[in-house]
């Protein structure tokens, strides 16, 4: 007789200390920390500072903030360092996109999603600095002509066409933590000093390296303030056990990050201080520790060998680190929240994969990280696992067991596709093999890339709306695109696609102009010396990463709504030009009227859609995606690197869906667009094998900035070893045929519905949203509905033929 024993909650495997730390973070109300905004204001208010070179300004302002920010060591902590003045909090970057955020925080009484606490006193303090920054933030300085500035700001706020995330800072890196751990800031600063000798004082190169040295020193000093705090706390601590722990913390923080780490614990502490500082330097997004199982492995192995550490103790430290990563939240403006729901900073931790020579690099630490992930099930970090032909079956099984059991992580990456794609984009084979995901889904070389993978995000189906209405939005007479022929004159699909391509090109050209203005503004006004110190190439070239100093530099542009556009074009082809059920002008008239005619809407919805293994439908999605990617080929950013295309949307498919008019696919205004390369939720009917067959018709090698392909299953259908094996086999086929990435959500729809009704009862319910995990309760009601509605492949019931 087979019976399912109730599985022990994986959390039970964690020590009581870890459970308490997790509880403390999970139960903390997230809020806004004003300290960074106030410190940066203090720095820039001084006229003398405003006359300094930008690199020095940014280094000194960071230094001032790191020194002055409040420091806390919480009960039970082994690893220390706080991102903000709150247990869970986020900072404001007034010199970047902070003015918009401030305006929103101060003038919107309460925010519907991602509600963050802000005290009345802090509100006043922030209100006082708003005037200072109103004409000084990056977005307003990007364009030289006032007209462009106003248009740019207005468009950024409404965000119907595209959103340039880089105007909030570049960030999005996997820093060279291996080097930091190995050399300490002393070693890094020494490298900078040595290179500085090659340049005359006052030159741009010299100045940049000087800024690196200031940043290095500020990071070292940041660690030491925790040493002093721990020493002071230890003196007052009555509990002998805790006193020892505090003394140990003090010893660790005396050592790192200034000096090379000697132990596993020192290594983790060293990189965590850097993790905090990097998040405070520029945008707090996509700062990814990356391949921790690789660069921490020598310390883990040596400590175990020497008897200094047990596997259990290592697991406790990794868990403590992991919990700390959830102590930061992004403080987005209301409009940005539409694009990036779920309080997510995109801090990727990647396990498995190969070394630079292509040998399997999975080790015991990969398993430790995976177990910690499964046990904690927290919002951050964003866990990725790399799979390749030589991945040990034991690791593969452990990964799929966690997924099938509902951890909804890690996201899976296929080395056999990612590595060649990176090589084709200019990476050496060795660097490509050492990739990690960053942010959401973007492959990037650890410590070597400034890939600005979230540079901009673009609404594609809205270009079709313009193409069907001579360059105007439905219901508008103002031309917001380029003039294209009226639909009455379109005689074939060629005419339709030509108009679409014209509108697409027009929109992308606009984006390019705006984005390049922002790129230049970042280089000119917001250099990032600390980031650059931890990216290979910057010190050697004596150039900031924002100016193209990193060994590899890219800008990633996200193509959102490709499948929706493909489905719309296919519906036009079928209904207008093949079946001749109605003329194109009549079809457009239906769209203009909001597709209220439900009979015609049903006709449109019945045309086969992408994601259901229909070659005709899939062909159009492929065409749209490749047309988008081709537009960018050969274009280079102002840092000298190529633009790459990404097929992931974070939550932008929701927001763009809201602003995009009805489509000939039968999709209504307001319905969400497809998430990345996943089939549109409402049109996904034929199950996971069909969805995979469709996705595999897309050449993913064209999308070097990463793709996101979701598969959703209800919990029952993939329960037990049968379910785990089925998931493993599905992914094996998908990867073998060229799949680049997949993330699997195992959801219990009943549970989700209950969680929507009573979010407080399920604060820890994690779901994956386009490349990252978010707490279900943190998502907007629309997003929640979408997740509930997404096809859950019902195969749980055995087929009972009686």
């Amino acid at each position: 007789m087979s019976s399912c024993p109730t599985p022990q909650s994986p959390l039970e495997s964690m020590t009581p200390r870890i459970r308490r730390l997790r509880e403390a973070v999970m139960s903390a109300r997230s809020g806004v920390c004003p300290e960074r905004a106030l410190d940066y204001t203090t720095y820039f208010r001084k006229r003398a500072n405003r006359r300094k070179p930008a690199a020095i300004q940014m280094a000194e302002a960071l230094s001032l903030h790191l020194a002055g920010k409040s420091k806390r060591i919480h009960p039970d902590e082994l690893l220390v360092g706080n991102f903000s003045s709150r247990r869970v909090g986020g900072s404001i970057y007034p010199e970047l996109h902070g003015v918009v955020v401030l305006g929103d925080l101060l003038f919107t009484p309460w925010r519907l999603v991602n509600r963050l606490e802000l005290s009345g006193r802090d509100k006043l303090r922030l209100a006082a600095i708003l005037p200072f920054w109103t004409f000084r933030f990056l977005g307003i300085r990007a364009h030289s002509r006032l007209r462009d500035t106003l248009r740019f700001l207005a468009e950024q706020l409404t965000g119907s066409w595209y959103l340039i995330n880089e105007s909030g800072g570049v960030a999005h890196i996997a820093p060279d933590y291996e080097k930091l751990i190995r050399l300490g800031t002393t070693g890094l600063a020494a490298e900078a000093a040595e290179r500085q000798g090659d340049f005359a004082e006052g030159t741009a190169e010299w100045t940049f390296l000087e800024a690196v040295r200031i940043a290095a020193e500020s990071l070292a000093a940041f660690g030491e303030t925790y040493a002093r705090l721990a020493e002071a706390m230890a003196r007052k601590e009555g509990n002998g056990g805790r006193r020892c722990e505090l003394e140990e913390i003090a010893r660790t923080c005396r050592r790192v990050p200034r000096h090379p780490a000697r132990t596993f614990r020192e290594a983790l502490q060293s990189l965590f201080f850097a993790q905090i500082a990097l998040n405070l330097e520029s945008l707090d997004n996509g700062i990814s520790p990356g391949r921790m199982d690789q660069y921490l492995w020598p310390f883990y192995a040596a400590d175990l060998e020497a008897g200094r550490l047990t596997r259990q103790e290592a697991m406790e430290l990794v868990a403590a680190f992991s919990i700390k990563m959830s102590e930061i939240v992004p403080v987005f403006s209301k409009s940005i929240t539409n694009f990036h729901g779920g309080m997510f900073n995109g801090q990727v931790v990647c396990i498995g994969g190969t070394d630079g020579e292509g040998r399997d690099a999975t080790n015991e630490l990969s398993f430790v990280v995976l177990e910690v992930m499964d046990a904690l099930r927290m919002r951050q970090p964003n866990y990725h696992a790399r799979l390749h032909s030589g991945t040990p079956p034991r690791f593969r099984e452990a990964v799929f067991a966690a997924i099938a059991a509902g951890a909804n992580s890690p996201a899976l990456y296929n080395d056999e596709v990612v590595v060649p794609t990176m090589v084709a984009n200019g990476y050496t084979l060795e660097d490509a093999r050492s990739y990690t995901g960053i942010g959401c889904v973007e492959p990037s070389s650890q410590g070597k890339s400034l890939a600005s993978t979230d540079a901009a995000i673009f609404n594609v189906p809205i270009r079709l709306e313009l193409a069907l209405n001579e360059g105007c939005r439905f219901g508008s007479r103002r031309r917001s695109g380029v003039k294209t022929p009226p639909v009455a004159r379109m005689r074939s699909m060629k005419d339709v696609t030509a108009a679409f391509e014209a509108q697409l090109g027009f929109g992308l050209s606009r984006l390019l102009v705006d984005l390049q203005a922002v790129e230049r503004a970042n280089a000119r006004f917001h250099p990032t010396p600390l980031t650059s110190m931890l990216l290979d190439g910057c010190v050697e070239k004596a150039t900031c990463s924002t100016g193209g100093g990193a060994r590899y530099t890219f800008s990633g542009i996200q193509c959102v709504g490709g499948p929706d556009t493909g489905d719309a074009l296919y519906a036009i082809e079928r209904l207008v030009f093949v079946e001749r059920r109605l003329g194109l002008p009549e079809l457009v008239e239906l769209l203009q009227k909001g597709l209220e005619d439900e009979w015609w809407r049903a006709v449109m919805r019945r045309v086969p859609k992408y994601g259901n293994d229909d070659a005709g439908a899939d062909r159009w999605t492929r065409w749209v995606l490749e047309t988008f990617a081709s537009w960018w080929e050969g274009r280079r950013n102002t840092r000298g690197g190529p633009y790459t295309t990404g097929l992931y949307s974070v939550t932008a498919h929701q927001f763009f869906g809201e602003v995009t008019g009805p489509l000939p696919s039968g999709r209504l205004r307001g319905e969400p667009l497809a998430s990345g390369l996943s089939p549109t939720a409402a049109f996904d009917r034929a199950g996971p094998t069909a969805a995979i067959n469709s996705a595999n018709r897309i050449d993913m090698g064209r999308f070097a900035n990463g793709i996101n392909f979701n598969l959703k299953f209800d919990a029952d259908s993939v329960a037990g070893p049968v379910g785990r094996r089925a998931l493993e086999d599905l992914v094996a086929v998908y990867f073998e045929r060229g799949g680049m990435q997949v993330q699997i959500n195992v959801l219990d729809p009943v549970l989700l519905r209950r969680a929507k009704e009573n979010p407080e009862a399920y604060p820890g319910l994690l779901v994956r949203v386009s490349g990252y995990s978010a707490y279900f309760a943190d998502l907007s009601a629309d997003m929640q509905d979408e997740i509930i509605a997404r096809a859950t492949y019902a195969s749980g019931a055995p087929v009972c033929k009686v």
Binding site: N693, G720, L730, A732, G796, K801
Partner: protein, 313 residues
């Protein structure tokens, strides 16, 4: 209903569904092909749309937007304006014109003719998944073995590609005609409902003589077989029947019996295709029912196989 309705030319078969990514229905990732037509008419049938051999039209009342496009195209005046009923089954000749115009999917064709080539092409869409998982195809119904001459060449092709074949049978089929395809099957799931011929007649419309004969014939042929008992409370879950079933399995040299819990979803399907619904209303089998039945069968030295996931009540 009789098997003579099934087309015996062997050139085409009526299929009412091909369900992809079936993973609880034999080894690996599978597609399940549901063939239409069955000689039994079990009171509790879970797939009543598989009973009649010909294509028919189902009505999903909740999807109907009452546009009555169907009325305009029907040449036989068979559309009725009743909230729950749309088709006068007496008049309807199942031409399917109404289905074509029903864009809302309220009227749907249940069952379409397919040639073996067409069926093979559909099945092979997921070939890579069968191969990677050691899965394959499950033929279900209805009674798939009524299509013996149709299935034999198809099975040969599938076997040639290394695809695992499972057949789910209700047991009443022309043995000689089905033998060539059975010889190619990797696994036969054979349903035993009631051991007493009279009770069998009462609940399924047919006595069980042929079924038991086919069972013995299959055992003799040596094909791998798993008998299954759809557990229907108050119909066949009494100790007498369970023990008799277990003994029959043992006498035939088999060691296991799978239990399938009854669910009540079939009744809604009956309504949609205009099949009569007769009392009594049978309640679904609960995990307790299963456990109790399992205990009795185990006492007869037969191993019980329970479904992976409990059925939703």
């Amino acid at each position: 209903m009789s098997s003579t309705e099934v087309e015996t030319s062997g050139k085409r078969a009526v299929v009412f569904d091909i369900q992809r990514f079936s993973i609880h229905d034999g080894p690996g990732i599978r597609s399940t092909v549901f063939l239409k037509g069955c000689s039994l008419d079990c009171h509790w049938c879970h797939n009543p749309e598989g009973i009649r051999a010909h294509p028919e039209i189902a009505f999903y009342a909740e999807r109907c937007r009452r546009c009555f496009e169907c009325e305009k195209v029907c040449r036989l005046d068979a559309i009725v304006r009743d909230p729950d009923v749309r088709i006068d089954r007496e008049r309807c000749n199942r031409c399917g014109l109404c289905v074509e115009v029903c864009v809302f999917g309220a009227l749907r064709q249940v069952g379409r003719f397919m040639t073996a080539d067409e069926m093979e092409a559909e099945i092979l869409r997921d070939l890579d998944f069968y191969r990677s998982s050691g899965g394959g195809v499950t033929f279900s119904g209805g009674e798939p073995l009524l299509y013996g001459p149709f299935l034999a060449p198809l099975f040969r092709n599938l076997k040639g590609m290394g695809i695992h074949i499972t057949v789910e049978t209700a047991g009443e089929f022309p043995f000689d005609a089905a033998e060539p395809c059975l010889a190619l099957a990797d696994l036969v799931l054979f349903d035993l409902k009631l051991m007493d011929p009279e009770r069998h007649q009462r609940w399924t419309g047919r006595p069980n003589g042929t079924i038991l004969e086919c069972f013995r014939g299959l055992v003799a042929s040596g094909v791998a077989m798993l008998p299954r008992l759809p557990l229907v409370p108050e119909v066949n879950d009494d100790s007498d029947n369970l023990r008799a079933t277990a003994r029959f399995v043992r006498e035939n040299g088999l060691e296991s019996l799978a239990l399938l819990p009854h669910h009540a979803l079939g009744r809604e399907k009956r309504r949609r295709i205009g099949l009569p619904i007769e009392p009594p209303d049978l309640r679904p089998a609960t995990p307790d029912d299963l456990a109790r039945a399992a205990e009795i069968i185990t006492e007869e030295a037969i191993r019980v196989i329970l479904p992976d996931a409990p059925e939703p009540a």
